[in-house]
Amino acid sequence: MTAEKTLISSRTMRKRRQPLRRIIGRIILYIIVGLGGACFMFPFFWAFISSGKSAAEIASYPPTLWPKKMLFVENYSRIWTEAPFLLWIRNSAVITSLNLIGAIASASVVAYSFARFEYPGKNLWFFLMLSTMMIPGEVRLIPTYLIFKSLGWINTIKPLVVPAWFGGGAFNIFLLRQFYMTIPRDLDEAAEMDGAGPLRIFLNVILPLSKPAIATAATLGFIGNWNNFMGPLIYLNDPEKMTAVQGLRYFALGTTYSQLSAGPPKDNLLMAASIVVALPCLILFFVAQKYFVQGIATTGLKG
């Protein structure tokens, strides 16, 4: 009787205690996740605050937690007038889109070849294609530069765009090929019965079904192109041809673009410009979050 009673009471006790411990556990979990997230966000936050300060305030110590005089509007409009920032952003947009269109178009065609056709040498080409991912880009950098130089392509956007039209990169080919493999062949065969040739099957059956994979390749490709630093650094010399990412260096070096004379460093403008350059990538992530996650997870896990 007493034993039974204690058993029951201890069970109800545990039942009552469990939620409390669980709740405390959850609170701790949220605190940890929140603190970690705050750490990761702080640099953005500080860059934003700094971008609203005056030149004098940003150079003073101790730093103020909020601009005494908010100059957000002024600073964010100055970055367009003190340097041809709009031109640089346009350059980035042109390079990124031309590269992306070529990469997606050619990678989707090549992936179709790997996924749906049998021919002698296919396995060898597929192996070579995958191994190009393993070769460090550095060994290609110098001869590629010399080849483009001999073609007279230096200081044009061609080196940054044209190669993408020939294959579109091993990563994209692999990603799309993996996706095509999951599309039932019955669909191809049904279309073939109706008299569709391989090109028609590709355009009318495979491509429309591959939108998620194409979106994945496009989102990851956008980030890679927009953020590309070394390519423009090597191939583009004229200030008018610079990309947005390159343009940041002008604010950092404390030069005004028109005279290229050393002035005081403009950290407030540099922070404003940094945020503006990062913004398209951040917006893209908000819009296409699931494609990022899927793309990274499939190529990482099944790769």
């Binding site: 979990l29 996740v33 970690g36 997230g37 990761f40 966000m41 640099p43 953005f44 500080w46 860059a47 700094s50 110590y61 730093p63 050619s106 065609v109 070849s113 749906r116 056709f117 049998e118 021919y119 002698p120 080409w125 294609m129 190009t132 070769i135 460090p136 550095e138 060994v139 290609r140 110098i142 001869p143 590629t144 010399l146 080849i147 130089k149 020939f166 294959g167 391989p198 953020n227 630093f229 070394m230 090597i234 940041l248 260096r249 950092a252 540099l270 940094s274 945020i275 350059v277 990062a278 990538c281 951040l282 893209l284 979050q289 990022f292 996650v293 990274i296 997870a297 990482g300 896990l301």
Partner: protein
């Protein structure tokens, strides 16, 4: 049986008209890549090998000099080579394990049943989308040794603040901190998260029935089940760390006094500032050799600790 086999063998040797047509079409669709492969990968690699045995400064035609470039690099003719390789390794040894631990920790946190998961994931993921140049400038500003925002925090705790990017000892650790911020919540974390979701629930339940606590489940189930993913992230991390360029180039320019002069910066400087193309090609093969050797070595060692489910 035998007839069918013979038929299969015959059809393997001689293609039918349809198979021949399909093969032709397959090659037609492969053509863009084939051109690209030969023009932008195979040819450059051959040219790069040849260049590495020449002296070539762009202005005059290349001059064959045998192994001189490699000897110059390895046997002390260029006293920046070995230290810069050493610095790249130092950076990799610090940043890769710390990065893996941080990524796995974030993935485990985000794998709990959290509300607003997409929001939390976004917070951790955004730094990896930020252009590395912007990242470098933002951190140079945070790490400013005179008026940086971290200084009051150090003063409050009463610790002397390191001079971060301006200090010989702290320059590389500072870049490691930047890389942690940049990469810990990025693709490696997403891959870990996907891997965690693939850990079979039955295994966890079986272990629970056997009385295993959280810690033991983590060490004896989660880690072994994740080992292929850890391996993948480890290799990608090492390759990425040995090639680090953008943040170092922008944040420190290789300084102070060569403290962050990585091998990638040395190759860039040799090729595109001094236009010593032959020697730079030899240096790039040196880096490639290191990366390829390490990758093969890791694959060899992986069979001792990587566990493949169902394989």
């Amino acid at each position: 049986m035998a007839v069918a086999e013979a038929q299969a063998a015959r059809s393997k040797m001689r293609m039918t008209a349809r198979e021949r047509r399909r093969a032709f079409q397959g090659y037609a669709f492969l053509t863009p890549w084939l051109i690209g492969f030969f023009a932008f990968t195979a040819l450059p690699i051959v040219v790069s090998v040849i260049l590495s045995f020449t002296r070539y400064s762009v202005l005059r035609p290349p001059q064959f000099i045998g192994l001189k470039n490699y000897r110059h690099a390895l046997l002390g003719g260029d006293d920046l080579v070995w230290p810069s390789i050493g610095r790249s390794f130092y950076y990799a040894i610090l940043s890769v394990p710390l990065g893996l631990i941080a990524s796995l920790t974030i993935a485990i946190l985000l794998n709990q049943k959290l509300r607003f998961l997409a929001f939390w994931r976004t917070l951790y993921f955004l730094p990896s989308l930020t252009p590395s140049v912007a990242t470098a400038y933002i951190w140079r500003w945070l790490f400013n040794p005179e008026i940086g925002v971290l200084k009051p925090a150090f003063e409050f705790v009463g610790l002397p603040m390191p001079r971060w990017f301006s200090s010989m000892e702290w320059a590389i650790p500072s870049l490691v901190i930047v890389s942690l911020w940049q990469n810990a919540g990025g693709s490696a974390m997403i891959i870990f998260l996907a891997g965690l979701q693939d850990v079979p629930v039955e295994l966890m339940e079986a272990a629970e029935i056997d009385g295993a606590g959280r810690w033991r489940k983590f060490w004896h189930i989660t880690i072994p089940m994740l080992s292929p993913v850890i391996f993948f992230n480890f290799i990608m991390g090492i390759i990425g760390a040995l090639r680090v360029f953008d943040t170092a180039f922008v944040a420190t320019g290789g300084g102070p006094a060569y403290a962050t002069w990585f091998i990638s910066l040395h190759i860039y400087q040799t090729a595109f500032v001094y236009f010593d193309m032959g020697y730079a090609a030899a240096l790039s093969w040196l880096l490639a050799a290191i990366i390829i050797t390490l990758t093969i070595l890791q694959f060899r060692l992986s069979k001792y600790w990587v566990f493949y489910q169902g394989g």
